[in-house]
Amino acid sequence: MSALQTPAPSLAQRYGAQVRRRITVLLLLLGLLLLVFATDLGTGPAGITWHTVWQGLRAPQQLDEGTRVILWELRLPYAVMAVLVGAALGLAGAQMQTVLNNPLASPFTLGLSAAASVGASLAIVTGFTAWGLGPELALPLCAFGGAIFAALIIHVLAWRWGASVNGVVLFGIALMFSCEALLWLLQFLADSNALQQIVFWSMGSLGRSTWPKIGVLATVLLVCALWTQSQAWSLTALRNGEDHARSSGVAVERLRLESLVRVSLLSGTALAFVGTIGFVGLVGPHIARLSLGEDHRFYLPASALAGALMLSCASILSKVLLPGVVLPIGIVTALVGVPVFMLLVLRHQGGLRT
């Protein structure tokens, strides 16, 4: 089609260059995350220097007991948990937006988080221990139960009336309000100990991160990430539209169901440990989409990285906003996430995409 006769790189070559650019962006995101993670480790009310952090990571036994506890029992688990929860929510939001064909979909906006909170609160109030497995597993199990219940209703709605209709979002909002009412009811009925735990939930905090919880979440994240990545082409094809994807041989209903199960697992487990954290699952995928498009081989890991980056930044902010106080991180993500999201929407509307 070109009138120029000079030898130009073929389309496949230019596509190859684009793929390499995307891999570079992914690596940059990863590098940025490592930087922010290190900053997160070095930030806190105890005033430990970078040098001490670095030493303590390499040779913990050389630290004095107090510093060792602060580094290994507080800062490191908080920082790792921030990365894992952010990644889990980013990955969940990304596939949710794709299978529901809705840029407003996320575990938070469609009520999955709220339903997961109800599940976990029920576990707290009733003292459910998952047949002796202990609260480390009982909480995520019940949260998953709540989330999958909400996800299945969304699946049925999407199957019945089409995924992209606003009805799904409206339904999510309705579900969120119902779950909040249920949460209030549970708080009203709970004893003071359980009440305190439930309140911790509704704010969202990294304050109770422990290594066993990190182990559970890391396992779920790894399994779900590999599972999602194996369907990257199907999810990409789905962005052409449901009928077009079906015509290419994608089993759309099954893909949507599997994705919603993964979303429930990811958001249920993440929220079981840190409580309700909004906007990461919504904004993370938008950052990924704006920076490297929607080929899901790159978009999925980028959403996870963007989510992790957001929550790590929020974790730093939660420590420095009020000197000497660590704010619940859910408050920070909402305060910072909303303006960032508005900015993204405005940029998008103005056609100023990168």
């Binding site: 070109s2 496949a12 539209g241 290419s248 041989g249 089993a251 498009g293 929607e294």
Partner: protein, 259 residues
């Protein structure tokens, strides 16, 4: 390559939208127009053959029952383009075609895959748009990208639902010529639902005229496009003239009151 339909039927709940569709073998290399009023069953026939809805009866492609094929196997043989355009997502044209191909033909080597995409985008005149995002393209360009997703997997049966609905005159010609070339080269068969009868008369070998879920006439466009059949299928008074190339030209005069 041939397609045979036997007593094909489609119902949505209690509503019967297609019934008793019988077709003697449609041979390879042919472009077949499905004509008829809105709601006559054109789209339903295409959707049923594409496996998008349940059907009764049989559709045999080279003796293989289409209803028994699993989605990826069917997608390799049968390619369906819905009436809706590919969604205005931020996928590039290249990515949208690549993803469709990766699902249907995962066994192809990377070199084959990229060479094939390059060829198809060239043949459809989309080469310059390959790395543009779908949401930055016009409706017509997206429709062409939708066709590229089909041709790239080299199907034997193409099912196109109003493939020229968003195209200007130039793109209409590009699409029809690219299709003719593809059918001749691959000995494939194409069924397309059309509203533009003159375009169909010029490019299609065969025409099926549908009304109320049935095929009421089949044959060369010159034999199907008669005032009597147009009246029966569309409820219009029409003249059919002959252009200087000897092709029939339909001039719709006025709508008739429903009887």
């Amino acid at each position: 390559m041939s397609l045979v339909l036997q007593q094909l039927g489609v119902s949505y709940g209690a509503k019967v939208v297609l019934q008793g569709i019988d077709l003697a073998p449609l041979p390879a290399g042919r472009m077949v127009a499905l004509a008829g009023a809105n709601g006559a069953g054109k789209s339903s026939l295409l959707r049923a053959l594409a496996g998008m809805c349940r059907m009764t009866g049989q559709a045999l492609l080279d003796g293989e029952d289409l209803a028994r094929l699993r989605p990826p196997a069917r997608a390799r043989r049968v390619a369906y383009m819905p009436q809706s355009l590919p969604q205005a997502s931020s996928l590039t044209v290249y990515e949208s075609v690549l993803s469709a191909l990766r699902i249907a033909c995962p066994q192809w080597s990377a070199a084959d895959t990229h060479q094939r995409i390059d060829q198809v985008l060239h043949s459809l005149g989309l080469h310059a748009l390959g790395l543009r995002a779908l949401d930055s393209l016009s409706g017509g360009q997206r429709q062409m990208a939708g066709l590229a997703q089909l041709l790239v997997r080299q199907p034997r049966l193409l099912l196109l639902d109003e493939p020229t609905s968003a195209l200007d005159l130039r793109w209409q010609l590009c699409l029809m010529e690219a299709l003719r070339h593809y059918l001749a080269q691959h000995q494939a068969l194409c069924l397309m639902a059309v509203h533009d009868l003159n375009l169909a008369a010029r490019f299609c070998d065969d025409m099926l005229l549908m009304a109320q879920g049935r095929v009421i006439a089949r044959g060369e466009p010159g034999r199907i496009l008669t005032p009597a059949l147009l009246r029966q299928a569309y409820g219009i008074a029409a003249r059919v003239e002959s252009c200087s190339m000897g092709l029939p030209m339909v001039v719709a005069e006025h709508a008739l009151d429903p009887e």
